[in-house]
């Protein structure tokens, strides 16, 4: 049976619209993995140490540069470079805690300013290592694209990234909820003094918090490396997204950060697809402002009595 052209056109357009809708869900879900990895690190560091780490985006950038340097420039296997990237960024995080944030513990503004200093230092170091000029590119180690239902397309590199992101977040969840160290970390995050009275070494826990947070940032950078333009300033967009997600999710709430990452990634992807990227970014910032006005605790945050 031949459909009248109006119905045929209409049917074809409906299918196209549905394809775009489903592809947008896939695109948004993959994006949410990066957002969550970047945001949970920021939340962890803030929750335990009370420091707004402005250099967190640059930690992501260092992870990406490490993969570019070792994998793209020196042919080190990709999986090994991911591990090295995590280690490099973790060490940077530990040094930041020991030499900057710990001496500034009683001065939240001091820690913030120190992190801005680190931000510039890491950008300059990246320029020294990678040189001036164009953004760096990392050839994708996983080539090809998985096609589902003949229209949903997911590059294997992105599939690998989302799988690793979910696994890393799962491990972090397990660590925080099923290990003594994780309980200690959450205890310090809730009340540093009370935790100290229970015999928890807050210095050690702070170091673990920043190590875990930095490791997550390093992993995010390493996974992003084959999918994005790598340059010393790439951390700028990462930190903006991480702040939005952190505030919407509830400052200090890891589960809130993960939920907000998924919601924000889907929101951003859909607005970019159906309107454009600039509208998406502005809308995201407006939502953040709205949350601060209407529900300052965010989706999962709790009000703390004085």
């Amino acid at each position: 049976m031949i459909l009248p052209s109006f119905f045929a056109d209409s049917f074809y357009e409906t299918i196209l619209a549905l394809e775009l809708f489903l592809q947008s869900i896939v695109n948004g879900t993959i994006q949410s993995g990066f957002f969550a990895l970047a945001a949970v690190g920021l939340v962890l560091i803030f929750g335990v140490m009370g420091v707004v780490n402005f250099a967190h985006g640059e930690l992501v950038m260092v992870g990406a540069y490490t993969v570019w340097f070792l994998h793209a420039q020196h042919s080190t296997p990709f999986l090994i470079t991911i591990v090295i990237a995590i280690l490099v960024v973790t060490v940077i995080g530990i040094l930041m805690e020991k030499f900057l944030f710990r001496p500034m513990r009683d001065d939240p503004l001091g820690g913030l300013i120190c992190s801005i200093g680190v931000l510039f230092i890491l950008q300059v170091l990246a320029t020294l290592v990678g040189g001036d000029g164009p953004s760096k590119q990392v050839p994708p180690p996983f080539e090809g694209t998985m096609v589902l239902f003949e229209f949903l397309r997911i590059p294997y590199q992105r599939l690998f990234s989302i799988a690793v992101s979910v696994a890393a977040l799962g491990l972090l969840w397990h660590f925080l909820t099923h290990t003594k160290l994780g309980w200690a970390l959450r205890a310090v995050s809730q009340d540093r003094e009370a935790a100290s009275l229970q015999g928890i070494n807050s210095n050690r826990i702070s170091m673990i918090a920043i190590a875990v947070g930095a490791a997550m940032a390093g992993l995010a950078g390493a996974l992003m490396a084959p999918l994005t333009n790598i340059n010393p300033h790439m951390g700028h967009n990462v930190i903006i997204t991480a702040f939005i997600v952190t505030i919407v999710g509830g400052v200090g709430s890891l589960s809130g950060a993960v939920i907000a990452s998924v919601l924000y990634a889907l929101f951003h992807t859909f607005v970019t697809t159906y309107f454009n990227g600039t509208v998406a970014t502005i809308s995201g910032l407006l939502i953040m402002v709205l949350v601060l006005i209407v529900r300052p605790t965010g989706i999962m945050g709790h009000r703390v009595s004085e």
């Binding site: 196209l16 619209a17 394809e19 775009l20 592809q23 947008s24 695109n27 948004g28 993959i30 994006q31 320029t127 001036d132 000029g133 164009p134 953004s135 590119q137 050839p139 994708p140 694209t145 096609v147 397309r153 590059p155 992105r158 992003m224 084959p226 999918l227 994005t228 333009n229 340059n231 300033h233 790439m234 967009n237 990462v238 903006i240 997204t241 951003h268 992807t269 859909f270 970019t272 697809t273 159906y274 454009n276 990227g277 600039t278 970014t281």
Partner: protein, 426 residues
């Protein structure tokens, strides 16, 4: 007695050894310095060498250094009876307007630059009042920087983005089945919107319907949604007007299974794009900037000395840095030197007058001063421009397009689209 005869020999040995050491050290530390009795003529490059815009600055400096070294090795350049060595002084403004003005003044006042080359856009707008007042000849790659009063600002090589019309013309001629196009570009007024308007006009003239013009900001980290959105319009041609993000966009086109034609203003670092996609996918992509080992550039009518030798020297010294501007700033430098030789002086007023009075030879041949109909002053040199296509993983010129001819026939269509996008025209 023996001591008297040995001492001078020892001193002589020490002197020679010291001289040899100094010479060897100098040669190894400063390999590009050719000892010369010539006077020095300084040209300035006030360009972005870091940041997002660095690919359109730094390779140009490398190219100019190669040209300057070649000229100096051959004994320098004779201007007004005096022989000069060429020195390239550079300043990295990182595409910051404040730094651009600071750098411009530094190059002119401290380095004594006779002419200053710039990329264009807001950084040129920042220096223009001072440059015009001080009568410093300045060059840009964006003729849209030209204003009715900018007597000392010229675009003698790239007329961004006017030459893009030639790529569309060639596409329409060779692929008559193509009926629709979608344009993706940055949303800035200097590069993206100018280019979008030009492509819109070129597609209209070629009878190709533009089904989507997607403008994006500089904060995009993931192009998957943008490409999904545009491909949903099912265009026959995907056009990247002027994008800083050609590589990630191409990567997304590849992964999302796009099978149509691709046209782009630039395709910088296309080797990296092939590494991220495939040679088969990138083959057939149309753009506007050739490699200089292209056989067509070795033919007569191209006003650039030994293009293949230049290409080889550049890639030997800077293997990963060739971009659209690698040869453009050198072409501007050579054009300016020709004018200075003809004028008998490197003084900006004399060179500017000579440039405008003489029939200039454009790098790819031909060349007419154009611009008053769009920007108020005929200070852009417009000549024929190459249409380049990737063939077997390599950029190859297909033919040259007539930019001036297209403009004389279709200027009104271009003006209409520029106005629609809110761009300045006279």
């Amino acid at each position: 007695m023996s001591t008297h005869t040995q001492r001078p020999a020892r001193r002589k040995f020490l002197k020679k050894a010291a001289a040899g050491t100094v010479a060897a050290t100098t040669a190894s530390v400063f390999p590009n310095i050719v000892l010369s009795a010539n006077k020095t003529l300084t040209v300035g490059m006030n360009i972005p060498m870091t940041g997002d815009y660095a690919p359109w600055g730094l390779p140009g400096l490398y190219g100019c250094e190669i040209i300057a070294n070649n000229i100096n090795k051959e004994g320098g350049v004779n201007i007004g009876g005096e022989t000069y060595d060429i020195k390239v002084a550079s300043y990295d403004h990182g595409y910051d307007t404040e730094k651009a003005l600071q750098g411009f003044k530094k190059l002119v006042l401290e380095d004594d630059a006779s002419m200053v080359m710039m990329l264009g856009g807001s950084t040129v707008a920042a220096v223009l009042p001072w440059a015009t007042r001080k009568k410093v000849l300045t060059t840009t790659l964006l003729p849209s920087d030209i204003t009715p009063d900018s007597d000392y600002l010229v675009a003698t090589c790239e007329s961004h983005p006017l030459y893009n019309v030639t790529g569309v013309e060639w596409l329409a001629k060779n692929f008559p089945d193509v009926k629709s196009a979608a344009i993706v570009t940055n949303n800035d007024a200097e590069y993206g919107l100018q280019s979008a308007a030009t492509y819109q006009a070129a597609f209209e003239v070629a009878g190709i319907e533009v089904v989507d013009t997607h403008l994006h900001g500089f904060d995009v980290t993931d192009f998957a949604p943008i490409v999904s959105s545009v491909l949903a319009k099912n265009p026959d041609v995907f056009c990247m007007a002027t994008s800083f993000y050609v590589t990630p966009i191409m990567e997304q086109l590849y992964h999302q299974g796009y099978k149509g034609k691709i046209i782009s203003c630039t395709l910088d670092y296309y080797d990296e794009i092939i590494a991220k996609t495939s040679k088969e996918f990138v083959n057939g992509t149309i753009f506007q900037f050739p490699d200089f080992d292209d056989p067509k550039l070795q033919e007569s009518g191209v006003n650039f000395p030994d293009p293949a030798g230049f290409d080889a020297a550049f890639r030997k010294d800077h293997p990963n840095d060739w971009s659209a501007v690698a040869w453009e700033y050198p072409a501007i430098l050579l054009n300016w030197l020709d004018a200075a030789k003809a004028a008998g002086s490197a003084d900006s007023e004399s060179v500017a007058t000579t440039l405008k009075a003489n029939k200039q030879e454009f790098i790819f041949g031909g060349g007419d001063w154009w611009g008053s109909q769009l920007w108020g002053l005929d200070n852009a040199l417009v000549g024929r421009w190459p249409i380049v296509v990737i063939e077997d993983g390599k950029a190859r010129i297909q033919e040259y397009g007539d930019v001036a001819g297209w403009l004389s026939s279709n200027k009104d269509v271009l003006v209409k689209h520029m106005k629609e996008l809110g761009l300045r025209t006279v």
